[in-house]
């Protein structure tokens, strides 16, 4: 189809001798990160995890109750009016009622801390199975008063995992189980307006973009009727799972291509103009490969207290991956701001919410990060996972993927986008924390509750790319993106910062 002779941007020609002109200037975008998931510098781990469930229930319950009340108030099923019950314990056998509580999945394959304790195991066993899901799973609903088992085929119509808050309607049968007729989710949280936190750039700023856009045939944003609110940012690039590695060079050329692509050095002047529209790079976790960090088991057990106070033991730690990543960042940063989320493999805290990767990991890129005590965001912004912020006025929520990966284990489904949608409809982005997803024991606030619905919700390190738009009852529109792991697919995701349209670029080496 394509012919060598009629490629518009061909540089297959002799040097013309004229100096290449037209300096490429990257467009800027407004950016305001939020500190929703920052933990205090000194934090106590003395608390019990039960508080998190309690907090979550108290925060989400009013929303579910409202949905349930409007749906079921005055409903009569088989000549019996549906009665509201405040606590699980108050359900009377044979009475049709509805109640709100926390779902708990009783799963034989799920690791159980009590079992570990009773069997004197002090190291949690490696999780071998990919899924906890099995046929014997039982759905139960609990609140602070008690727990009741839920039965009924209607439950199978929607994903349910431990920790989400729902309202169920039904009646208790002779076995003490609640036969569920219907159930309700809290559904999408209220969505803030665009530009709720930051000011849109003035009209004069957007002029260059309008020019650039005129050249591109696509990307007509019908939504914006007034030209004044047009931002200057063109696209946001999201990538995850770069997995820089010292030993595994299987995708190092792809990483190089990615670098050249983002720098705007690859391709021809026309395409480079297009690349200059990428205003920010978001790295959604797993930037560093884990594989070299395996320490022989016997060695680690027989480890003596090391006398070395500074630096690291070169025999047990290989700094190469982080050095490579640092070089990558240091090359990109002069031309583009970067938001860096940690992932499961990155050198950050292990439990959710992961705290930012310390800038000391990146000696070359460090000058671009914010100074320690300052409140400003850095040009290299190392942020938490999950992370919330406002980019070009849109509320963005992103994670490194652990929350969805953990939900994946609970359900018999491969639909990652469906799980992302479910977290939005539950208003809880990490319901399985703290049960199977390690989490900080929150005391006063459960930040995983989605108080506000984002415009853009991305999850990193997924097996493959996916995107869709979900809508809520109050006009909320959420763009969901499952960002694939770069190691596996060599894909990066570009999001248009005006329309939130998604496109992707696949890097291929043949």
């Amino acid at each position: 189809m394509a012919d060598l002779d009629n490629i518009p941007g061909s540089l297959l020609r002799a040097p013309s001798g004229k100096q290449e002109d037209g300096q490429l200037t990257r467009v800027s975008s407004t950016y305001k990160p939020l500190q929703t998931f920052r933990l205090a510098k000194e934090k106590s781990y003395q608390q019990q995890f039960a508080d998190m469930y309690f907090l979550r229930l108290t925060k989400i319950k009013p929303a579910v109750d409202e949905v349930a009340l409007s749906a079921w108030d005055g409903t009569i099923v088989a000549d019996e009016p549906v009665k509201r019950v405040d606590r699980v314990l108050d359900i009377r056998q044979g009475e049709l009622c509805w109640v709100t509580g926390t779902v708990y999945m009783d799963m034989p394959l799920k690791p159980n801390i009590l079992e570990d304790v009773s069997k004197d195991r002090w190291i949690s066993a490696p999780i071998t199975q990919e899924k906890y899901w099995s046929e014997e799973d039982a759905v139960t609903l609990e609140d602070e008063s008690g727990r009741i088992r839920l039965v009924g085929d209607v439950l199978k119509s929607h994903l349910l995992v431990t920790g989400c808050i729902i309202s169920v309607m039904g009646s208790e049968n002779v076995n003490g189980e609640l036969e569920v007729v219907d159930f309700k989710l809290p559904d999408l949280a209220p969505q803030p307006e665009r530009w709720a936190l930051s000011d849109p750039p003035s009209a004069s700023d957007s002029k260059p973009k309008a020019k650039a856009k005129a050249k591109k045939p696509k990307d007509e944003d019908e939504k914006m009727t007034d030209g004044a609110t047009r931002g200057s940012g063109g696209k946001i690039a999201i990538v995850s799972g770069l997995a820089f590695s010292a030993s595994d060079a299987s995708h190092s050329v792809e990483l190089t291509l990615l670098l050249e692509y983002l720098l705007g050095e690859a391709l021809d002047p026309y395409a480079q103009q297009e690349l200059s529209q990428i205003s920010r790079l978001i790295i959604a976790g797993n930037s560093i490969s884990l594989e070299e960090r395996k320490v022989p088991l016997d060695e680690s057990q027989a480890k003596k207290p090391v006398n070395k106070k500074y630096g690291y033991d070169a025999s047990s730690y290989n700094a190469m991956p982080s050095q490579l990543f640092d070089e990558f960042l240091a090359t990109i940063l002069p031309t583009m701001p970067v938001t860096l989320l940690p992932g499961a493999q990155d050198p950050a805290t292990a439990s959710y919410p992961q705290q930012p990767i310390h800038a000391a990991m990146f000696p070359n890129s460090r000058p671009f990060s914010a100074p320690p005590a300052s409140a400003d965001e850095g040009w290299l912004d190392t942020v938490t996972n999950p992370w919330e912020g406002e980019v070009e006025g849109w509320r963005v929520l992103g994670t490194g993927g652990q929350n969805i990966d953990d939900i994946f284990k609970y359900v018999d489904s491969e639909d990652r986008l469906g799980m992302m949608e479910a977290t939005c409809r539950w208003r809880c982005m990490a319901p399985t924390a703290p049960d199977t997803l390690w989490s900080y024991p929150f005391q006063d606030d459960d930040p995983f509750v989605m108080k506000e619905c984002p415009h853009l919700y991305f999850v990193g390190n997924q097996p493959e790319f996916g995107t869709k738009v979900i809508k809520g009852g109050e006009g909320q529109t959420v763009r969901l993106i499952a960002v694939p792991s770069f190691t596996a697919t060599h894909e990066i995701v570009l999001v248009d910062s005006e329309t939130l349209e998604v496109s992707k670029v696949k890097l291929n080496v043949a």
Binding site: A249, S252, D415
Partner: protein, 450 residues
């Protein structure tokens, strides 16, 4: 400009190297787009002269034919079919690196190619394109920190970002405290100046403790510290104290009611003798305040919770209060909620040694007691506070130890908290400095307690 031909001939044909457009661009300091054309021209002229002498790789950018039946999709078909339905289709561009041999056939897979250029030249066919990353690494090493973004943009065509912010490296940010200033002043009270930089702030602190007889040493120490901090304006306040401990002592020493001098006479006695009593609030634990707040909010919530649950067991209430050193053998859960205060109390050593205050952040070591939980032969676990005093069935032991800290993780101890104890503390601290080398003091006091 024509010397690029010579350069490429030298590099590729003679030295048998692989040259990418970026490498050429960086070496000759030409624009990348020009370098791409140079590679093309060189490839053409060489192959006209001697066909097959050079192998090129091409970088192609465009849209592949919509139905991706090619084998570059790594997953099994079933999975990709299944998931295709979940996601809405999106426009996909492909950036592909292609060998010369397969260029024509690969181009057939494209619906539209918007861009193509020579990526690299090598003297023979490349078995594995991953070798190109070596050349890329060469470029990377040249690039980092070499040019300012603006010149890189003008010379090589790298994208320029006018808004990029780079923090200026603060001069001497990581340099240790220069010892020259404090040393001579501190000398009168110290037998010999500590040789290492690390202990320097401490010697200043010691000097400040004996502010009575060495009045002038304190301001000196402070000015020295200030000088260091001068470039870190926000840190100046903390800095002036040269680390909380020194300030603490200094304040105390200035107070007349508890004369420090008599105390100082007895310092010849072994460290251990009078140590046991100064445990009142020897180590201000920042955790305590936090824990108190925590337990307060916790109590509130628990009260609410209890109301809701219609049950009243008072145990929870108690659990939230600090219960120092009660042998809570049968209530291990309770102990969990106790802030680590009791352990801190038995400490008698200087709570922390500030090592470096150079850039407005304090680093150093602090003395902590670590709880170690072990299982006894009957399989019990527990928390005894005085492990060694009990028998072997004891399952928790406390181990004093040093842990390093920096301000990032812990703020300076609140001076006012330490005040009541500081007088008693001043003496041992001084002893530690004067009578014996530091390390020895630690170990002595450790055994002395038993």
């Amino acid at each position: 400009m024509d010397d690029y031909q010579n350069f490429l001939a030298q590099e590729i044909l003679t030295e048998d190297k692989t040259v990418t457009y970026r490498l050429l661009s960086r070496t000759l300091k030409v624009h990348v787009n020009l370098a791409k054309q140079m590679l093309y021209e060189f490839h053409k002229t060489q192959n006209d002269r001697n066909p097959g002498s050079l192998m090129a790789t091409y970088l192609v950018y465009g849209t592949r034919k919509s139905d991706e039946q090619d084998d570059d999709v790594e997953m099994t078909d079933s999975v990709s079919d299944k998931d295709e339905t979940f996601s809405e289709p999106v426009p996909t561009k492909t950036l592909q690196l292609i060998r010369e041999e397969t260029l024509q056939e690969t181009l057939q897979e494209y619906e539209e190619v918007t861009s193509i250029h020579v990526y690299s030249l090598a003297p023979h066919p490349m078995k594995d394109l991953q070798f190109l990353s070596d050349a890329a690494q060469l470029v990377l090493n040249q690039t980092i920190g070499e040019d300012s973004p603006l010149t890189a943009s003008q010379t090589y065509g790298t994208m320029f970002c006018p808004n990029a912010r780079k923090r200026e490296r603060r001069a001497g940010a990581s340099a240790p405290v220069p010892p020259v200033k404090t040393q001579p002043k501190a000398a009168p009270v110290k037998q010999e100046p500590k040789p290492t930089v690390k202990e320097e702030p401490n010697s200043a602190a010691v000097a400040a403790v004996f502010g009575k007889d060495a009045k002038d040493s304190k301001p000196a120490a402070n000015t020295a510290a200030k000088k260091v901090a001068a470039n870190a304006a926000p840190a100046l306040k903390r800095q002036g104290s040269s680390g909380g401990i020194g300030q603490m002592f200094a304040k105390q020493a200035a107070k007349p009611k508890k004369p420090a001098a008599p105390k100082r006479e007895e310092v010849v006695t072994p460290v251990l003798s009078d140590e046991g009593e100064d445990d009142s609030e020897a180590m201000p634990e920042p955790v305590n305040q936090k824990a108190e707040e925590d337990s307060k909010s916790r109590r509130d919530r628990q009260a609410a919770l209890r109301r809701m649950m219609d049950e009243s067991d008072g145990e929870e209430e108690e659990a939230s209060k600090s219960k120092p050193e009660s042998p809570a053998e049968d209530e291990p859960m309770e102990e969990d909620t106790v802030p680590p205060e009791p352990e801190a109390k038995v400490e008698e050593e200087p709570a922390e040694v500030v090592a470096s205050t150079g850039d407005g952040r304090r680093r150093g070591r602090r003395r902590v007691t670590k709880k170690k939980q072990i299982m006894d032969d009957q399989g019990y676990l527990g928390f005894y506070s005085f492990a060694f005093a009990n028998s072997e069935s004891t399952v928790t032991i406390q181990e004093p130890g040093w842990e390093s800290f920096s301000e990032e993780e812990a703020p300076a101890p609140k001076p006012q908290k330490a005040k009541p104890a500081a007088a008693e503390k001043a003496a041992p601290a001084a002893k530690g400095k004067k009578a014996a080398p530091k390390g020895q003091g630690n170990i002595m006091s450790f055994f002395g307690k038993k």
